[in-house]
């Protein structure tokens, strides 16, 4: 049926092999280049796009002031598609072909972890954004993490929650846990269980669900049947939404409910869930409360919102953008203080100095994590309707812990909306 001779077949393969050189013909120019992969598609894209806007605002700011080390800053980035597989290729292209001067990570753990071997091999100083516990295995001394969780991340997301539980009177007895079969949830629950044990709570339910669960009612119903005083969820954005909706549907009530719920920091879920969020205790990294008025944060958020509106990206800008901007502020300060692009000198600066940023004064500690963790425990209070404007005001996302940033009082219990 097919008469293609071997010679012809090989003849075709020759040109096809030449096609493999295609990727190498995509190039760039002079100026101070900062290279990174960023998730602009795939599961992490919402955060990735928001972070990219923050980086771009910073680049514009720096160039308006005359650049970095007297050179114009240029951001060189590629879409890592939220996957580890594209990352080695992207970072080797950035370093070998585009010849960027500085590299930073993309958003979140998976793309960051996949870049580490190349980074370590080349001895580059590397800042990462919201990547969880990446350096625990590598122990690389030129790694610096912009994640408010600090060196003991697994406890950070639940410590505030359970310290608040400990203040309740009468003392609660039982707790229920649930979370996704995925990296953050698993880590968060490990820490949560220990935090709960420390204050003497008894576990009455502890099960996980697969990441593509449709229906959360069976899970929430099982939790309700166990009758816990405290309910702790460790969830990703779609689960957070599903769990909260199921909670109201099934009519689950508790003294305190919430936990390490990713997604509640984004406008999409805040507006979608609206009043269903009332009295849920969750974690934030930044909210417009009077106790968190860092210098420059308000102006930054306003400028971010202008650009985000144009690009149809996350409109509130509380979760990633301020920290992405702060990351670049720190990098700028370190490079300027070092006076050069030498990785060892930059790393030295990053290790030793305290940096003023739009999210406060920051210092790095062991392993490149924040010396002082700052995961805030907050509570939604007084949410009415689904409008986004209310979330831009203080008083709706009240910070309860730590004491340094406290801006209101804990309201208990959590009651589902009456039907």
């Amino acid at each position: 049926m097919n008469d293609l001779s071997r010679r012809e077949a090989l003849g075709l393969i020759g040109p096809a092999l030449l096609a493999t050189t295609l990727p190498l013909h995509a190039q760039s120019g002079q100026s101070l280049k900062i290279g990174f992969g960023m998730a602009l598609s795939g599961g992490l894209a919402a955060g990735g796009k928001a972070s990219l806007i923050a980086y771009q605002i910073w680049a514009d700011d720096v160039n308006a002031k005359g650049g970095l080390l007297g050179r114009k800053v240029e951001l060189v980035h590629y879409d890592d598609q939220s996957s580890a597989a594209t990352v080695p290729g992207i970072y080797s292209k950035l370093l070998d072909i585009d010849k960027v001067d500085i590299v930073v990570s993309g958003y979140a753990t998976v793309p960051t972890a996949a870049a580490m071997p190349i980074i370590i091999q080349r001895g580059k100083t590397f800042m990462s954004l919201f990547a969880l516990a990446v350096n625990d295995k590598f122990r690389y001394d030129r790694y610096f993490s912009m994640l408010p969780a600090g060196p003991e991340a697994k406890y950070a997301f639940s410590r505030g929650f359970f310290e608040l539980v400990a203040t309740l009177d009468p003392k609660p007895q039982t707790v229920a846990f649930t979370g996704a079969d995925a990296e953050f949830s698993i880590l968060c629950l490990e820490g949560a269980r220990e935090n709960a044990k420390k204050i003497g709570l008894k576990t009455v339910y502890d099960r996980s669900y697969p990441p593509n669960t449709i229906d959360y009612t069976p899970i929430v119903r099982s939790i309700k049947a166990a009758n816990p005083d405290i309910v702790f969820y460790a969830s990703y954005p779609p689960d957070s939404s599903g769990l909260i909706k199921a909670t109201h549907e099934v009519g689950l009530s508790a003294r305190m409910l919430g936990g390490g719920m990713v997604g509640l920091q984004f406008a999409a879920l805040k507006t979608q869930l609206g009043p269903m969020l009332n009295n849920i205790v969750y974690y934030e990294v930044y909210v417009p409360e009077p106790s968190l008025q860092f210098p420059g944060i308000e102006q930054f958020v306003t400028r971010y919102r202008e650009r985000a509106a144009k690009e149809g990206v996350e409109p509130l800008g509380f979760y990633l953008p301020p920290f992405a901007y702060a990351e670049m502020q720190i990098l700028e300060a370190a490079i300027t203080a070092a006076g050069s692009l030498d990785d060892a000198k930059i790393a030295e600066q990053l290790r030793t100095k305290t940096f003023p940023t739009v999210v406060g004064d920051l210092k790095f500690g062991a392993g490149g994590e924040w010396a002082e963790p700052r995961i805030l425990s907050a509570q939604f209070q007084g949410i009415v309707g689904n409008d986004v404007e209310q979330f831009k005001q203080p008083g709706k996302q009240v910070v309860l812990w730590p004491a340094k940033y406290k801006s209101g009082e804990l309201k208990v219990p959590f009651e589902p909306i009456k039907r």
Binding site: M1, N2, D3, L4, S5, R6, R7, E8, A9, L10, L12, I13, G14, A16, L17, A19, T20, T21, L22, P23, L24, A26, L40, S41, G42, Y78, D79, Q81, S83, A84, A85, T86, V87, P88, G89, I90, S92, K93, L95, D96, I97, V110, A113, A114, M116, P117, I118, I120, Q121, K137, F138, A180, D181, A182, E183, I186, L187, P210, P211
Partner: protein, 334 residues
């Protein structure tokens, strides 16, 4: 061209496809020349990036060739290639966590595990229509993913770190080493495919593809042939997965079971041509390079869109792929 010369040329061509001694010798020498040329070109470009990009493309050569042994030769579509690939990946992870063998020793283990699973799946479903086999492979991939996600020891859903040495003796950078390993696998898989194609196994599979009932009536042991093809195909896909943990260093189920692998593994042979070993190779080289190019130039969601559109267009216009197009142009000229 003189009659003598033309006859000699035809003789070579004919013996090349039929597999006499001249054919393999020709293939081996051309193959060796190509290998040397590739290394020279890549060394000249001198960068790890070239090696890593080429690694991915070659990985698809192996996957596409493996898929085609069952899909193109026998006509049975495997939608679960990501599952077999992931078996290779996680066998490699298990080895890394326990006995720490070098990659070259891990590859046969991964191939054996994946081949075994292929055999088992085939045994359960190949007695039925081809479509049910396809659906079963889809289901298999999902079941495997659920199992891995629940297996904490290989990292479960959390993922696992696989640390690799910075340099390797002889090869220098690790990227170069990985590239060499995958190049070896690619050549091996193509040789195996060619061997199958020209053997009694290949002829039997072709008979099954054309008309399974008729083949059975004329005595072709279709179940056993299909089982062999499934096992071989699965084993090669597992082999392709074995070096992957060392390539990305952070293995989580989403990356290992990536749907991009399942799509590409099917698109590449269909675009290149399914009836012969050269088709998947051409498809993989072209589409793979295109995707690597797209990754560093345009947005990536469009990347998959391109693959999907190309797949549909080729399947409608050129159902026998690029090879089919060329054959029909040649036939029309004659």
């Amino acid at each position: 061209m003189s009659v003598v010369a033309k006859t000699a040329k035809d003789e070579v061509a004919r013996s090349a496809t039929r597999g006499g001694w001249l054919g393999p010798l020709l293939a081996a020498s051309i193959g060796a020349a190509l290998i040397a040329a590739t290394f020279l070109v890549l060394d000249w470009l001198g960068t790890d990036y070239a090696y890593l990009a080429a690694y991915t493309v070659l990985q698809f050569v192996v996957l596409a060739t493996a898929w085609n042994i069952l899909g193109g030769y026998a006509g049975y579509v495997n939608f679960g290639s990501a599952g077999f690939f992931a078996i290779g990946v996680y066998t490699s992870v298990v080895v890394y966590q326990t006995i720490q063998l070098p990659i070259l020793a891990t590859i046969p283990l991964a191939a054996a595990t994946a081949g075994l699973v292929g055999f088992a799946t085939g045994y359960l479903t190949l007695r039925l229509r081809g479509v049910f086999f396809s659906i079963a492979t889809l289901a298999l991939a999902i079941v495997l993913q659920t199992l891995i996600v629940n297996w904490d020891w290989v990292g479960g859903a959390r993922g696992v770190y696989v640390l690799r040495p910075q340099t390797v003796p002889v090869f220098g950078s690790y990227a170069r080493y990985l590239f060499a390993v995958m190049l070896g696998l690619a050549i091996l898989s193509v040789l195996i495919a060619r061997l199958v194609e020209n053997s009694w196994l290949g002829q039997g599979l072709a008979a099954i593809r054309d008309d399974e009932v008729a083949a059975e009536c004329s005595g072709v042991p279709s179940l056993w042939l299909k089982l062999m093809a499934t096992t071989l195909s699965g084993a090669l896909m597992g082999a392709a997965g074995a070096p992957f943990p060392y390539f990305i260093t952070y293995v989580d189920p989403n990356t290992a079971f990536s749907l991009s692998i399942a799509v590409n593994t099917i698109a590449m042979p269909l675009i290149g041509g399914t009836t012969t070993w050269a088709g998947p190779v051409i498809g993989a080289l072209l589409i793979g390079s295109l995707q690597q190019y797209a990754t560093v130039t345009i947005s990536s969601a469009a990347n998959l869109l391109i693959v999907g559109v190309l797949l549909v267009v080729f399947v409608i216009i050129a159902p026998n792929g690029i090879i089919g197009l060329i054959t029909s142009i040649r036939e029309r000229r004659q």
